[in-house]
């Protein structure tokens, strides 16, 4: 089962068998990682460049580990995007990387569409590690793997995605993946943080946590960035926490065995209460991180099985 292109730029457009293939492959890497073994011959001699125009610790480390466990030579490049003319520099960077014969290019950028633009200009396989407000495909895959391992399926589950949906690429990728796989997706947040016409993506919108969480199997919390408050979309952290922060009382409205997820890093006391975040039974937050490495190994593996270069 091949991916539609040699890149992974978005979840939107993937079909259920392609998603299932990646999840099955990731499942095998979970077992490999837990056994303490590696598979260093798979990407031996290949070069993976982590090109990050935006700060990241978790995702970059996860890709780095995934690449190294498969035997690739991994190089991290952090580029400040604020001080330079973005469009021109991005193309310059593409030219430079192409000259280095890089094989796998993992890109994070604060502008939606930047990885797609790079993909048109380089010979490497481009993996989107988060672009602006657009998509974060490997996060959605790792979330799906985490859910599938716990619930055995994605189809028919009620998944509530709560918080700053407007600015969240994690939310967009998850919406595409989960609706494609037959989950019922709800988004919950104040109207100022819900994007226009989001129902067209196949979700139901709620502005009240109690109503939106009722009967939910999975509760996915999103990070609320402080700058959203500065921009005036939310009056204060205490009001946000009162109405949209996940605490035990609100979680009690969800299904009795509902599980809690968060892409990290968390703002405790803003979007999530510590008692919920650290609940060893309900919280999957640590498990998500473990699944992240396995999913990224699966993506690197899958892309490496395609005819490698334009020739």
């Amino acid at each position: 089962m091949n991916l539609p292109t040699r890149h992974l730029l978005a979840i939107e457009g993937l079909h259920p068998p392609q998603i299932e293939h990646l999840l099955d492959l990731a499942e095998s890497y979970v077992l490999l990682n837990r056994s303490g073994k590696t598979q260093r011959d798979l990407l031996r001699g290949r070069t993976l460049i982590n090109l990050f125009f935006e700060d990241s610790t978790r995702t970059r480390t996860s890709f780095e580990l995934a690449g190294k466990r498969l035997g690739a030579d991994v190089i991290n490049m952090s580029v400040s995007s604020s001080s330079v003319n973005k469009g021109e520099t991005l193309l310059d960077t593409a030219g430079t990387l192409n000259a280095m014969n890089c094989d796998l290019l993992v890109v994070r950028h604060d502008q939606s569409g930047a990885p797609s633009l790079l993909a048109q200009k380089v010979d490497a396989s481009v993996i989107n590690a988060g672009d602006g407000l657009h998509e974060h495909p490997t996060q959605a895959l790792l979330d799906a793997l985490t859910i599938r391992r716990r619930r055995g399926r994605l189809e028919g589950l009620i998944v509530a995605i709560c918080g700053d949906v407007l600015h969240s690429r994690v939310a967009r990728s998850n919406i595409h993946l989960l609706t494609t796989m037959g989950s019922q997706v709800r988004v919950i947040g104040p109207p100022t943080l819900i994007p226009a016409e989001v129902t067209r993506l196949g979700v139901t919108v709620f502005h009240d946590m109690d109503a939106g969480l009722a009967g939910a199997d999975i509760v996915m919390m999103l990070r609320l960035q402080r700058e959203r408050m500065v921009r005036g979309l939310v009056p204060s952290a205490r009001e946000y926490f009162r109405f949209f922060g996940l605490d035990s009382e609100k979680l009690a409205k969800a299904a009795p065995d509902a599980l809690v997820m968060h892409p990290g890093p968390m703002n405790r006391g803003v979007e999530i209460d510590s008692a919920v975040a650290d609940d060893p039974v309900r919280s999957l937050i640590r498990e998500q991180v473990e699944m992240g490495v396995a999913v990224r190994m699966a993506v690197l593996d899958s892309l490496s099985r395609r005819p490698w270069r334009n020739s």
Binding site: P190, P191, T192, H207, V234
Partner: protein
């Protein structure tokens, strides 16, 4: 508690379309009966209304109280006396006081201060923006929980289109309404009367009718965009009314 019978009054009750001369009997602190002719029960105190109107307490839905901040002008106690003299038993208080009613504790305080008067129910509006300055949203959810009945910046318009959009959108999530002072602030600044012949004769700085029309038209568009609810506190121009009628 003794019964009280009020006779010789004009009974008015819009809810039941009642408008007739008659009497009203109060028993145990509640209205027991009202109508054309009521016999006086034994021991009841009788009051002659002298033909005055007897009606449900009036509600002033937009009152700028002097308290807090301008007690030299008016206190809640003096406002309660004035209200009682005019038949007003409930008053919706604007939040552009000093400090502005932008904190849940202040909403609770105003409600409590009303109860202390014994005659006046105060229903506080919450501020749309902090300090009614038009720059950042106030904590509408917490204000509602504390007992705010709606949101307005009082006698100041929410001037920024972006802020009004956010306010309408955010308030919608809580099912709340924004009450707007419909006057484009940069056009209205410094004005005292509608711009025109009379203002010219009296030498008063004018406010063009367009100041109202622009804000009414803008906020109708923003209400459509956000699905939010807007109420215009006062409309004084023909075109403003037409815009609302067509909306």
């Amino acid at each position: 508690m003794t019964d009280t019978l009020i006779v010789n009054v004009r009974l008015l009750d819009p809810a039941t379309r009642l408008d007739a001369p008659g009497a009203l009997l109060i028993r145990g602190g509640v209205i027991a009966h009202c109508g054309g002719a009521i016999g006086r029960p034994d021991g009841a105190v009788e009051i002659d209304g002298g033909g005055a109107i007897l009606c449900p307490g009036l509600i002033d839905m937009r009152a700028a109280l002097g308290e807090p901040g301008y007690e030299y002008r008016e206190t809640i106690a003096s406002a309660a006396q004035a209200a009682a003299a005019g038949g007003i038993t409930t008053l919706a208080a604007l939040p552009d006081s000093l400090p502005a009613i932008d904190d849940p504790a202040l909403v609770r305080l105003l409600r409590a201060r009303g109860e202390e008067t014994g005659s006046l129910t105060i229903l506080p509006y919450g501020a749309v923006t902090r300090g009614c300055r038009g720059e950042e949203l106030a904590e509408m959810g917490l204000l509602l929980e504390a007992g705010a009945i709606g949101f307005t910046d009082g006698q100041r318009a929410v001037g920024s289109a972006r802020m009004m959009r956010l306010a309408l959108s955010y308030a919608r999530g809580f099912g709340a309404r924004i009450i707007q002072h419909p006057e484009e602030p940069t056009l209205a600044e410094g004005g005292a009367a509608t711009e025109g012949e009379l203002a010219t004769r009296l030498g008063l700085p004018g406010i063009p009718a367009a100041a109202e029309e622009i804000l009414v038209a803008r906020d109708i568009s923003l209400a459509r965009l956000t699905g939010g609810a807007v109420h215009f506190a006062h409309v004084s121009t023909f075109d403003g009314l037409e815009l609302i009628r067509r909306a």
